[in-house]
Amino acid sequence: MDQIRYERVGETLHRCVLPNGLSIYVDKKPGFQKSYAFFATNYGGMDMRFKLDGVWHDTPAGVAHYLEHKTFDTEDGNALQDLAANGASPNAFTSTSITGYYFESTEKFEENLRILLSFVSVPYYTQESVDKEQGIIGQEIRMGDDEPETQVFYGMLEGLYAHNPIQVNIAGTVESISHITAETLNLCHRAFYEPANMVLCVAGDVDPERVAEIAREVLPREGRAPVERDYGEAEPPQAAKALWEKEMAVSTPIFQLGFKDTPPQKGGEWLRWNLTGQLACEALLGNSSPLYARLYAQGLINESFGYGCEAYPGAAFLCAGGESRDPEAVREAVLAEGTRIAQEGLDEALFQRLKRAAYGNAVRGLNSFENICVNQAMGHFQSYEYLSFPEVYDSVSKADVEELLRRAVTRERTTLAVIRPKEARA
């Protein structure tokens, strides 16, 4: 395996690509009790239309997530139980663009790794078990229906995007998942669970060579090139809708503001966009920005206020939200602050301070094995090296941040999504 030392963050990464196309990254972490393995495919809720063996397929909303649930099934039973019986804590998640399976364990790491690689790569979907899962996932969807943060976030995506599939609920709807069969799952597994479309990331006090050997033993020898996907035509620059609203049983309005940006190219540019976008949020409305202090003092936002930026194929945005008695006033204040920064520019001292803080936060984030492995995997899928972030921070200038704010924080690129309190009819 190749070894790369990231001196500035004190991490050493071992990496290789197997002949079947699978990329493996191992971050050696001496002194920790646990080891963490993350096996992910570049396939998420948004990947609904794809071309396999020359044929285009349209699949129902929620397949990637459904597949994640059923992938734990094996011919001998259920891998979740096999791992848990070894004392490992296994789990999985499906996001907009990736599906990841992982475990954390303090013992029997190699045995657990074999189980992980095996159950994810060998499909075993029976119609009976697929049918039975309808009830469980149906309840998961219903739980999400009661979560205002989930609802308002999708509302914002619906407001920002005319058709990009990132706005489709990852879990689907009770109706959409009713069309999922064992055949659908087999098709999608064949399309996306190919070694070349996957990555294995490990963090812990483990032997990197052994990780590669085990992957070679368990996984197929050969692979095929990833499938072609279709996310529809390019999005217009402006938001599809200025306002999205819904009523729920909440105590105070809950909002999410979105600002649509131009999606970055794959590679170093992607990481650069992420770091610039984060700094742009900090400068515009972050905890130490002048606007934040003002809004907090006016009682327009509270501790629930949060913000960030996200990029996906064909979609990138900044967002901020939380509880507010007057979400429209927050939107107006943020747009006005965006205009002010566009005209006057950012304060140089503030910018340097924010960069220093962002760097420190990113380094502290490396305490979390999950954070390291998930970021490593996302970086792999978008062709950048996550651990090079200190160097990229060095190269991000005040003008870069100002330019992003000038571009994205305008009225026509803004959506406001709001959940308003509904009186209970007890």
Binding site: G10, K34, A84, G87, G135, Q139, A249, Y296, A358, R364
Partner: protein, 426 residues
């Protein structure tokens, strides 16, 4: 193993210090421990937030944020926790470890100094808290209390505790009561604050690369001027060993999914009991893991829910089962949850269930050592309960506990209260 030392720095002031090189950050906390009582809980709960608004040297949010940015994006979070019958009030901070600072400056001294300053030298007006900050934080506290209903799963858990422990200190909400917020004034809060500073036990925590001697020195310096006037003892947590006839509470909200929570008394077993490892194993077997009876039967076999799990409140001697189910399935889920408890009481376990439960329990204890935040919370709870056992020692006791002891713990459980949150009838 990272050595843990406990040092008394002043009367009623104790430091728990964990010396380790393995993290990128250092975590520190300062927490006042005071009896949880209905008449003081609300005033106490606002104080960490009010203190976090400004100090003599950093009079507003902007100046505190700027100082934290300079400390590489460190964080100081106000914390209000319930530990048994104690209310824990203070700050938890996370900072870049000195090893990763860009210019070789030390972060620890300045971080501790800033935290001590926020705790001891607040921004005042006319000898009391600033009226503006007080008014704003009263609004925020009200929002915080009311917002508990937004997370339905947590809300159902809180309501169960309130109902089940009505009349016991533990039944008091950690944030206090909505109706008590209005009457808080800058002067009344100032008096409460002085009382707490002079008479509460102060627990300090540090985890990071600095040597304990240096940590003692840094904290001692940061706390110069802390008044100490005695009376630091905490009352023992009230433990009700068993319940008579189960009580039923049902409430209605406009929700899509019902939330069922069931509270059991543990027969007097708490973290201080010799039988505690048996109760931990019992909980893991019953509903604590993905190999548990509740997960495998209520979810996997009957597809009644997405989650059905149990957890122990170790200082109170109370076990809670929670699940999200269709309204119509409440009875079915409740029956199955109780039927699975009966199976536990009869000792109906396969060897893999026992092994899985034990390995999971041990592993979840050992991984506490890999997280600075979880260690902080562990040691705070232990300090409030007057216990000194570390996660590793407890893990050793779990290794040696016999299955019939876990069965005995299951037999000791008695159902006290059932709480069901249901939707509005169509």
């Amino acid at each position: 193993m990272a050595p843990v030392t406990r040092t008394q720095l002043m009367p009623g002031v104790f430091l728990t210090s964990v010396h380790t090189q393995k993290f990128k950050s250092s975590v520190l906390s300062m927490t006042l421990l005071t009896p949880l009582r209905a008449d003081t809980a609300t005033a106490n709960a606002i104080l960490p937030y009010l203190l976090r608004r400004g100090s003599e040297a950093h009079p507003d949010l902007s100046s505190i944020s700027a100082a934290l940015d300079q400390l590489y994006g460190g964080s100081i979070e106000p914390m209000v926790r319930k530990k048994g019958d104690a209310q824990a009030l203070g700050f938890t901070g996370s900072f870049l470890d000195d090893a990763y600072s860009l210019d070789g400056t030390t972060v620890l001294d300045r971080a501790a100094a800033l935290m001590g300053e926020l705790l001891l030298r607040p921004y005042t007006r006319e000898g009391a808290f600033c009226p503006d900050y007080t008014r704003q934080e009263k609004g925020n506290l009200l929002d915080r209390i009311r917002a508990e209903v937004n997370d339905k799963r947590q809300y159902a858990a809180n309501r169960l505790v309130e109902e089940m422990c009505a009349g016991e200190p533990y039944g008091v909400n950690r944030l206090g009561r909505e109706e008590d917020v209005e009457g808080l004034t800058p002067a009344s809060l100032w008096a409460r604050y002085q009382e707490l500073l002079a008479h509460s036990r102060l627990e300090l925590y540090y985890c990071g690369s600095a040597q304990t001697d240096r940590v003692c020195f840094v904290f001692q310096k940061a706390l110069t001027g802390l008044p100490r006037e005695g009376g630091y003892d905490l009352p023992e947590t009230v433990v009700v060993p068993s319940a008579a006839e189960p009580r039923r509470v049902a409430e209605t909200l406009d929700v899509a999914q019902g939330k069922l929570t069931m509270g059991f008394r543990t027969g007097g077993i708490t973290a201080a009991s010799p039988e505690y490892p048996a109760l931990m194993l019992c909980n893991a077997l019953y509903g604590g893991t993905t190999t548990s009876k509740l997960f495998l039967n209520v979810r996997e076999k009957l597809s009644l829910c997405y989650y059905a799990s149990s957890m122990v409140q170790k200082y109170k001697g109370f076990l809670m089962v929670s699940s999200g189910v269709e309204f119509a399935n409440q009875k079915k889920a409740e029956d199955e949850i109780l039927a699975q408890l009966e199976a536990c009481r009869r000792g109906e376990f396969e060897p893999w269930e026992v092994e899985g439960a034990r390995r999971n329990t041990v592993s979840s204890l050992l991984t506490i050592l890999d997280s600075q935040g979880r260690q902080e919370d562990w040691w705070l709870g232990q300090a409030a309960a007057g216990l000194t056992e570390g996660p590793q020692e407890l893990a050793e006791r779990v290794e040696s506990v016999a299955l019939d002891q876990a069965v005995a713990a299951a037999k000791a459980l008695s159902l006290d209260t059932v709480y069901f949150l249901k939707g509005v009838e169509a």
